[in-house]
């Protein structure tokens, strides 16, 4: 019961105000890391700190960043989704293929349908059949990777529809474009952040992730909550597919092959616990930005890009270590 009390407490704490929730200790660490990285690259390169480059970093983050929002929901329930990148890629090639007929709106809806069906598949296997999410989504990942290539014969579809690439456009403020894709990413983060911290659904998600048995004892329908999480994540992946077409106007079955792991990296660096029940989408947004800042800054500093992977890996280990430390202190 203490677990649920924690959840209720968490809810009360967050009701104190979204600002305080955003600045709670879970996002403070990632935010400090982001600021530190920005300061270091601004000091060591001439080109890093300017509005154009910062806008670019946001644009480069949106696809994996949006996927990571869905991933956050799944990880909050102590699950993991290895198939999210593959779901997005399959949706984007389906959209790309159907859009060749000119019905771009229908194509986008078909992409959403693909995501929902696959989210439902993952959700049913995990919730109804109590299968481990790691294995379920690993299997689905493999099937979908092949399916996307079989469907397209390993070819990519150029996207020339203004509607499908609309997220790459956007208002220009002082010579810097703020793309609709970036705004959508921030908007989705705000909506999911609100749903997680300010609604009964959010409390249930945290409770199920923290301790499913305790949650069930208090009358929470655990299976229904799990299914809703996988379906919500699927909708987010559909947005990610649209983001991907806007950013790179090609539906490519070979693209984004490591987006699943990249999204998990963003979630973990963002301070969400892989054990479930703790974390949030604001941290994930910061986590995705940190990964992009490292790649962008190190390239501009002329440092071998393999060191980007080294730096990202070290951050992941630090994030998990911090999480472990916090967790053991809490249970003591």
């Amino acid at each position: 019961m203490t677990q649920l009390d924690d959840a209720v407490l968490l809810e009360k704490e967050d009701r104190a105000g979204p600002l305080r929730a955003a600045l709670s200790s879970q996002t403070a660490g990632p935010l400090a890391a982001l600021v530190l990285a920005v300061v270091i690259f601004s000091a060591t390169t001439d080109s890093f700190l300017n509005a154009g480059n910062l806008s670019l970093i946001a644009q480069q983050s949106v696809v994996v960043g949006t996927l990571a929002l869905g991933q956050t929901l799944v990880i909050l329930t102590a699950g993991i989704d290895l198939s999210n990148g593959a779901i997005m890629v399959l949706a984007s090639v389906v959209i790309g293929n159907l859009a060749t007929d000119g019905n771009v709106f229908g194509a986008l809806l078909a992409g959403l349908a693909v995501c929902l069906v696959l989210g439902l598949l993952n959700g049913v296997l995990v919730a109804q059949f109590s299968l481990p999410p790691f294995i379920v989504t690993l299997g689905v990942l493999s099937v979908l990777t092949a399916a996307a290539r079989l469907y397209t014969d390993s070819q990519s579809y150029p996207i020339d529809s203004a509607f499908l690439t609309a997220l790459n456009g956007g208002p220009t403020v002082g010579g810097v474009t703020i793309t609709y894709g970036v705004l959508l990413w921030i908007g989705l983060t705000a909506i999911l952040g609100y749903a997680l911290t300010q609604t009964a659904w959010g409390v249930r998600v945290y409770a199920v992730g923290d301790n499913p048995r305790a949650a069930a004892l208090t009358g929470i329908k655990v299976k229904r909550v799990l299914l809703s999480v996988y379906l919500t994540a699927a909708v987010v992946y559909a947005f990610a597919a649209w983001q991907a077409l806007g950013r790179t106007p090609t539906a490519d079955p070979s693209g984004y092959s490591t987006a699943n792991l990249d999204s998990i990296t963003a979630v973990v660096i963002g301070g969400t616990s892989l054990f479930g029940g703790r974390g949030g989408v604001v941290g994930t947004l910061i986590g995705a930005l940190i990964v992009t800042v490292l790649a962008n800054g190190l390239t501009q500093a002329g440092i071998d890009s393999l060191y980007q992977q080294v730096a990202t890996g070290i951050l992941v280990v630090i994030a998990v270590a911090v999480d472990h430390f916090v967790r053991t202190r809490q249970t003591r």
């Binding site: 696809v63 059949f129 099937v143 390993s154 790179t248 490519d252 070979s254 790649a295």
Partner: protein
């Protein structure tokens, strides 16, 4: 409850089996034992088929073998650099007593022991597309001379470059044989060395459109004056073009590439790529099968070392002293989907 558990287990097993089965046949698709006297079976070991180049190479090899009345065993790496799957596949092929193996190695050294094992059993091993290190590890190699391919686009870029070149190098993991060859060949053709001040910057891609785009964006952020872009392949060139276009710099920079896929040649025609060096994967497969046929007929082994399957410079802006073909010719001779 029991029923659902069993159903779930069955479903999970089904997904897992189909998951492990995809991507690699590991000899499972063997169309015959190959041990019967008179029957010829050859093994074809390819790289990851997510790249249409390797699919074209595999199909060409297979159809040339089928035309000779041979049976084939096929296997392919799951991801770039996946030599472990290839080793297992070759072990299975040795056990199946194939007469020859056409191998596109995922790693220049990791496959040496298993290739030696095959050759010790009298199996002819020919590598295509890439080589082993040392190259004598296999009986012969039919591949693009990637250094020569890089040199062609380097020379073309030099001849058509602006007076003050600022070069971006969009590479793939340079431990990969073809990637290293193209990189060095480009520099040689351009007449510069790594670290030359005219190189504005370099970045690692995964050989895909979106990684090419991000790499180019990052380099442009630091060096907006980049006007020559070397790309490891045409998908990366496509991504680089998107990055240049977004910054309004597409007209100011010349992009060169290697591959000769139909989509890439179309990009040459559309002015997205200035010049590309076309490879001939179908020819590699055909040459390999011809060499095996000759060996099986009278025991003549193919010439050891690298047998160049040829490279042709494709550009619509030819330069003096450098032989090239137009994009229209390229579209007649390219590989992959048009």
């Amino acid at each position: 409850m029991k029923v659902t558990r069993v159903a779930a287990a069955g479903l999970a097993a089904g997904i897992f089996l189909s998951a492990t089965a995809c991507g690699s046949d590991d000899g499972g698709s063997s169309s015959g034992g190959g041990s019967d006297s008179g029957d010829v079976t050859i093994g074809i070991v390819e790289l990851n088929l997510s790249n249409p180049f390797f699919g074209t190479l595999q199909k060409a090899t297979e159809s040339a073998a089928t035309a000779k009345g041979w049976k084939t065993m096929k296997a392919e790496a799951k991801v770039p650099g996946d030599s472990a799957t290839q080793v297992t596949a070759i072990e299975n092929m040795i056990a199946n007593k194939v007469k020859a193996i056409v191998l596109d190695p995922a790693n220049p050294t990791a496959l040496n022991p298993v290739v030696k094992k095959a050759r010790d059993q009298g199996i002819l091993v020919i590598t295509v597309n890439a080589t082993l290190t040392p190259i004598e590890g296999a009986d012969a190699t039919f591949a693009t001379d990637n250094t020569a391919a890089g040199k062609l686009i380097g020379q073309w870029a030099k001849a058509s470059a602006p007076a003050k070149p600022r070069i971006a190098m969009l590479d793939f993991d340079l431990s990969d044989g073809p990637a290293g060859g193209r990189h060095n060949g480009f520099l040689e053709g351009y007449g510069i060395k790594d670290g030359d001040p005219s190189i504005a910057g370099s970045a690692l891609t995964k050989g895909t459109i979106e990684t090419g785009q991000s790499a180019m964006e990052n380099l442009l952020s630091a060096h907006p004056d980049i006007n020559v872009v070397y790309t490891i392949n045409e998908p990366v060139a496509r991504g680089a073009n998107t990055a240049l276009k977004n910054k309004g710099l597409a007209d100011k920079a010349t992009v060169v590439s290697v591959d000769g896929a139909c989509s890439g040649v179309q990009d040459v025609k559309d002015g997205i790529i200035g010049a590309t060096a076309m490879q001939f994967p179908s020819k590699m497969g055909q040459l390999a099968v011809d060499a095996i046929s000759k060996y099986l007929a009278d025991g003549t082994k193919p010439t050891a070392g690298l047998n160049d399957s040829g490279t042709t410079l494709i550009t619509d802006k030819p330069v003096d002293g450098l032989e090239s073909q137009t994009s229209d010719w390229g579209l007649q001779n390219c590989w992959g989907e048009k």
